[in-house]
Symmetry: C2
Subunit: 140 residues, 2 copies
């Protein structure tokens, strides 16, 4: 990765940290608060405009379930002041003490603003669960 | 829409026409054949690189089911030589003479190359079926 791509990858990690930590202020810093910002949660319809996107995160963060998310197979592509990340999200959700795992594919689009990469689009969709690369096929 | 956005919307329509018409040569003209091109079909994992993406379309176009796709709620955003489209895909699929309908949300990223907008990323994911805007709630 180039240093520029690395900066995008770091912003992408910060996004998943904010999600895992249910950190709404961090989400607010990470997103570019435009009326054309957009967020699609797995299986959901598109939330359009920063107000809707922010309300969506607020709802998720006050809900009963907690989630840990790790991004794997991260690819970063960059043209000028736009970058997009494609990755597999591995999710461990806990509701009422019961843990389940799932996987999603995500497309995340970032714009460079004042030398910072800010998220403007997050599109995540469920995928069949895939074994981790080092499991030797034992885990699925 | 600005004329630039309109050009992107036209390329987006051409993509859904190629899909409906099972037109592989049209797909080949529409996509930018990079190794970082990417395609995620509803419920599927990411196909990465133009070779994989193209093989995916070839497989779909030789399959038994036909599909008609119309893009609605089309939003185009453009920064420099990159544009992305967000839309709802309304799909009517026919397998063995039996028709079913479904809906998907799509993110399509285009790059401007030689004054033409070429697709580099298509990410579609299933969404709950939504009534058409003019149905008065009668259709669902």
């Amino acid at each position: 990765m180039t240093p520029e791509q690395q900066a995008v990858a770091t912003a992408n990690e910060a996004f998943y940290d904010a999600l895992t930590n249910r950190d709404l202020p961090a989400m607010e810093r990470l997103w570019f608060p435009a009326d054309w910002a957009e967020c699609v949660h797995p299986g959901g319809v598109a939330l359009r405009s920063w107000d809707e996107v922010r309300d969506g995160w607020a709802l998720i963060f006050t809900g009963a379930s907690t989630v840990m998310v790790a991004a794997t197979d991260v690819k970063v592509h960059l043209v000028g002041d736009i970058a997009w990340v494609s990755c597999t999200e591995r999710l461990a959700s806990t509701i009422d003490g019961r843990m389940t795992t799932s996987a999603a594919h995500a497309t995340n689009i970032f714009v460079r603003h004042d030398d910072e990469w800010r998220l403007v689009l997050h599109h995540a969709s469920p995928v069949p669960f895939v074994a981790p690369p080092d499991s030797g096929g034992l885990v699925n």
